[in-house]
Symmetry: C2
Subunit: 189 residues, 2 copies
DNA sequence: CACTTGTCTTGACATAGATCAAGAAGTGAA
DNA sequence: TTCACTTCTTGATCTATGTCAAGACAAGTG
């Protein structure tokens, strides 16, 4: 089984037959560092699973580049507004490193439901999970200090701090690079 | 048509027949000010549509009461983790005023898919929309000041500021009541 | 009615975190 | 190697926002 099959299987728990039907629709795709997976205002007509590498989801606000999220191995990746509602993408998604993806086109993605009985239901559960994750994230901004948000991310994803430029992590955590640097310094001592 | 039918129809755009099948499963429910719709740690086995009144979604963090969201007429209301994943509720949901709801039990909610062909698909779209809304909200914390967040909410939901205790709105916006009060003062002058 | 309780505002002050500016260290290209 | 560029850190300073404390109202209750 590829990582994709393992992941989909572990997450959605479906039959080997259905699993094949789905994963066959994904094609391997390779992107280089700096390449764009999606661009704000254009259309993102694909859904990908990250096999390796990291991608940064961001948008500009008054000229400033704000990182919304960083996606790495084991994550699904798309601009949801484009994929689901056929509208312009809200996000720039760009590779922070060379990346290997398993990618399905929007057209094929929309066919899955016709091949696999319970797909819409499973996808609904998946989206519900994503919603809960974002709810937590909102709550973190309502209830935590910059340092607490740092701790939270550090405990969960230590490895990011060795791989991802720190100013991107700072942005994603809602603080400046200087603040992140000072928090890190404090942790060492 | 009841508000519920109008809403579901406008949002999901389904046949009059299916519409009836669904809305028949909802029962009217009346709650009084201060009543709890859901409690953190318990199980919330229902999904409701708010006909009238306002409810506050909140949780405690280190003894402090943090408002995550306020739900009013035209919103659906539930603790998603309970409804979808049969786990303990993450949120307290309490009436800020007397409320009229249309409520469906979890059991009946789960039957909808069996009665209405495309239900899972429609619900998926609905959840995707919710996800996009939360994404915006996260972005607002990454990119906006307290005052900008206030402006944003004020433009979209002026009426809340006459109905909802301001300290709850402040909490939901991620600021203290004092800060909200000062921002408001500034706006008058 | 008086009394309690909750809401909202205001002022004085404290502080987390932002901004600005500079420099150190690493990386890649020529 | 040197130069340009990026990342990260550090110090000095500024400011938005938080904290604490008090008072003004308004609303509800016995």
């Amino acid at each position: 089984m590829t990582e994709l099959e393992q992941y989909i299987n572990s997450y959605f728990g479906i039959s080997k037959e259905d699993l094949g039907k789905i994963t066959n629709l994904f094609k391997q795709e390779v992107l280089q560092k700096e390449d764009f997976f999606a661009r704000e205002g254009e259309y993102c007509n694909k859904l990908s699973f990250v096999k390796s590498g990291y991608l940064r989801v961001y948008a500009f606000k008054e000229g400033k580049d704000i990182t919304q999220w960083i996606s790495g191995p084991g994550y699904f990746l798309t601009d949801l507004q484009s994929l689901v509602f056929d509208q312009q993408a809200r996000w720039n998604i760009q590779c922070l490193s060379d990346c290997e993806l398993y990618t399905i086109s929007k057209e094929n993605y929309r066919q899955i439901g016709k091949h696999v009985e319970k797909w819409d239901h499973l996808e609904k559960l998946f989206l519900a999970k994503c919603f809960l994750t974002l709810e937590d994230r909102v709550f973190s901004f309502l209830s935590m200090t910059a340092e607490e948000r740092y701790d939270h991310l550090y405990v969960q994803n230590k490895e990011l701090f060795n791989i991802i430029p720190l100013h991107n992590l700072a942005s994603m955590l809602g603080m400046t690079p200087e603040t992140l640097s000072r928090i890190r310094k404090k942790k060492v001592s």
